[in-house]
């Protein structure tokens, strides 16, 4: 019998994450969510590993602080 493909993300993991997010995940959704996460998480973890390297310690996230015009101090 061929080995089952290994899974990074299991249905139990999905249910636990849904609980943490306070998301009432219907049973019919669990497998589809698991399958997508299982496909994406290894690459996301690879990117985590890359960005955690010392070469990139000074790189900041692209999150910008925007200023509305009416914030200007006119006092």
């Amino acid at each position: 019998m061929a080995d089952e493909p290994s899974q990074t993300v299991t249905e139990d993991t999905v249910r636990a994450l849904a609980d943490l997010a306070d998301l009432n995940l219907a049973d019919k959704q669990v497998e589809a969510v698991r399958e997508t996460l299982d496909a994406w998480i290894p690459s996301a973890n690879e990117l985590n590993e890359k960005m955690a390297q010392a070469d990139h310690w000074t790189v900041t996230p692209i999150t910008t602080f925007t200023h509305d015009q009416d914030e200007e101090d006119t006092g």
């Binding site: 994450l17 959704q29 997508t36 496909a39 994406w40 690459s43 690879e46 990117l47 985590n48 996230p61």
Partner: protein, 472 residues
Amino acid sequence: MSTEDGLRELTLSESARQIADRELSPVELVDACLERIDQVDDTVMAFITVYADQAREVARASEQLVAAGHRLGPLHGVPLALKDNIGLEGLRTTAGSKVLDDWIPDGDATVAAKLKGAGAIMLGKTNMHEFAWGGTSDNPHHGTVRNPWNTDRFPAGSSGGSGVAVAARCCQGALGTDTGGSVRLPSAVNGIVGLRPTIGRVSNHGVIPLAWSMDTVGPMTRTVEDNARMLNVVAGHDPLDNGSADVVVADYTAELDRGVDGIRIGVVPDYFFHHLQPPVRDGVQSALRTLEGIGAKVVDVRMEHIHGNISAQLTVESAEPSAYHQRWLRERPDDYGDDVRVLLEVGEMLLATHYIQAQRYRHLLRAEFLDAFKDVDVFICPTLPFTATGVGDMTVVIEDDREEDMLSAIMQFTGVPSLTGLPSLNVPCGFDDHGLPVGMQIIGRPFAEATLYRVGAAFQAETDYHRRAPQL
């Protein structure tokens, strides 16, 4: 060719000029477009709402203004369409969803107001992937959009309705929105021109968001000149959008005839030409030879950090929509289509560190591209690695008979400008053996849209791909 066919073949620029010169009636032009919508839209499902009566009324007023010597602006009397996530005051705006089925905005999106102020006539709102979260425009609430070159094939997305409406001659231009490729992808597979502007170049005020840090509105047209004319109208700083850039707007038509002599084109052979269907590779390589033949220089560039962009794209494009939709996903989950619901649920389960590392990666990739732009003026690559696949397909075969997930495959090349905020332009550059369009993507420096148009216009002056029409 009937009179209506002749009118529909006019480009946006030709129509605008003829209307200004009183050689063309906006009423006749709008009627020709509405007739075309009647002919084809039951098949291609490009529109969610058509404002036939209102468009005719505005066209009559446009005609009277021209007769009296008045012209509202550069798009006076030109019929356009808007993707249905762009708000129009007093008119239903659904974002292709059931959640917003009866939502009526109390004001125009800034881009819609600018187009109306320039004299454009709004024909209707185009169909799209639900909430712009997907690349097929297979919409469970408003119908499956179909490619006019072959209605068994998909139109890509998420601005699939806008792409089809322009390609099928239902309107002379349209606006789409682009987060991970949603203007450029449907432009490529429908054989039209589509621009993702520099992030912040065009206001997002009044547009229903997908992922705030990557969203932008972009024009979709048949020619590069038409696209530049639309960008001239919609570009500019908007105090109502705090992501809007306060940067001077160029006249994007000014350099269209300048040619490409001396332009340096960067290519990244081991990424952008690595994993493609052969007709796509042939089409883009042939385009590069055409541009070299008229004076451009092609330069190989190595980009150390380009691998990883698809994961970063998926992470950011998942996490941000899930934050926006958090309440609706809990209160009315069954109102979402199956695919979008799963993606929104997935976005709730990515870790904060995944999102932050993806946002850090964007800086790394942007810095690498900005550094590369010291040696090149633009990059050119395929817009996507395959031509239009079958309607309803969730996987795609690019090479070696290997099935790949549609979402990851389709944003393989469009994700780079989305993550880095750089402008990029799709220009049609060929057809495959089945008559399906191939598109190339021209990527430029921040706010260098004029250079993209210059290269695109030089290519269109040498080729006729943009003049071919689907036989629908």
